[in-house]
Symmetry: C2
């Protein structure tokens, strides 16, 4: 077992709510980087920071082209880092894009990306996980409500809440095509989930999350207290969000697909230890143990 | 077989698009009733007319109370007019509420409701179908894209596009709890669907629509041409929409349920004949053959 566990989960018979008192959402200051004080204050309060236009039109076009290449890359055909929809066999996610693609490896080192991650976390950072998500039209599946940190803590051994995620839109996010929903302020509460982690839980949970899913009473309480914010915007827009935000997305019956690039940055001082509620860590592409500082 | 079929469907091997040339969306005039000319023009153009507040707060409270009574009415326990979710057994719809409930029977005769229906259809009207829809939180199912008229024509024998529906919100409609989506202007195009109607198709289609579902190429074409409008608003708000609007709704993972009252008015001159693409008509509560003019 690891150091003091501030966020026990999958260990009790009943769910519980644990206040986040030790770990701020913002560890750096306005002097450290691209974001102004008001944005840092907003991040502390809501747990997220939207960015209207993170990429220039030319950068966006290049990124979309790179994604198209990855989707049809024959060398990735049987790769475990490619996850498919249960019913249609369409690609749902491609992991490790910052390693697979030199293009994305360079892109995420930009000051607008790695620089903001360093500023929010007040630390050198590395990539804990990266992926492209595809939510196809005509029946793309929902992602149930969850805190990413709950999974990373329980199954990857991330000790503290000192990680931040970037969701970068590669298609337009409408209200109706399964766009990201966050309960603003929910990052301040840790929902301790019930149930033991089965062996190799990630194989099931990437397709449909079962374990590490908050109970309905806790979700109702958080939703009543915080409400739900839904993120819309054109391709190239983005949102930074704290590792403990309660978030999810509805299914998508419209013809309009939704895809985004998702990168998780972790503070180097918050590198992984043994999982807090699983027998062994998930595979490298889900929770990296190769903490190369981004320069 | 019935009179000339302007809207053949479930009869060809390939889907086809048929322009609506004979039946206007608005048959009456501003002189006939509550709606002003600009609203009638909007209805002609978009196929729908939103109403910010159809019910007063007191009327709304009474209607919500009546729905609560119906939900727990022991005399309706085994009634075929009560349809349940496949997975959770929760009530999804209660049909025939204008017959079951004296409260709703009186409410729909109000000039703000029956009066508007008469104005839009330029005719005396009767109720073709009425129901309460419940979309529970935490996994309420989607309604796939469809035109109601396609079903009413094929399975009920409604000859022409001279019917209008009222969707009256009984809970707040957010963007994220499965609210109604319509492709504005889509009422001008009839999508002829493929597939033969199986016997007693309604038993399956009320839970998950399979037959009478437009093909993806047609949906993509209509969505690209018309876009998608999503209706949000507080309980008590409403939307009138044409029988041939292409509409649907996403699933709902949020804790916030959605319920609405749905009433279909048909022009008395458009009373049902034999079904155009089914062996026998659906049950009375789905497509009424008891055309009592509303006074």
């Amino acid at each position: 077992m690891s150091p003091t566990d501030l966020y026990p989960t999958r260990r009790f018979d009943e769910p519980r709510l644990i206040y986040r008192t030790e770990d701020p959402a913002v560890w750096g200051s306005a002097a450290d980087g691209p974001l102004a004080q008001q944005h840092l204050d907003g991040h502390t309060q809501h747990g997220f920071t939207p960015v209207e236009q993170l990429l220039t039109p030319a950068e966006l076009a290049a990124a979309q082209n790179e994604i198209e290449q990855l989707l049809h890359d024959p060398s990735l055909a049987g790769d475990e880092r490619v996850v498919r929809e249960r019913t249609t066999d369409e690609v749902r996610s491609v992991f490790d894009v910052h390693k697979i693609s030199p293009f994305f490896a360079a892109m995420i080192r930009d000051d607008r990306i790695a620089g903001v991650a360093r500023q929010i976390l007040g630390s050198d950072v590395y990539v804990h996980q990266s992926r492209i998500n595809y939510k196809p039209g005509f029946g793309g599946a929902p992602f149930e409500w969850h805190s990413d940190f709950e999974t990373w803590h329980a199954e990857d051994g991330m000790p503290r809440m000192r990680a931040v995620s970037l969701s970068l839109a590669m298609t337009e996010n409408y209200h109706f095509n399964g766009s990201l929903m966050i309960m603003p302020g929910s990052h301040q509460t840790f929902v301790s989930c019930i149930g033991e982690t089965p062996a190799d839980n990630h194989k099931a949970s990437l397709v449909k999350q079962e374990i590490g899913t908050p109970d309905q009473a806790s979700l109702r309480l958080l939703a009543d207290k915080y409400g739900i914010h839904q993120f819309t915007g054109p391709a190239g827009s983005a949102v930074w969000f704290d590792s403990n935000c309660m978030h999810g997305s509805n299914g998508n019956i419209t013809p309009f697909p939704r895809s985004n690039l998702f990168i998780v940055f972790n503070a180097i001082d918050n590198s992984l230890v043994e999982p807090f509620a699983a027998d062994r860590p998930r595979p490298e592409y889900l929770g990296s143990r190769d903490w190369q500082v981004l320069n």
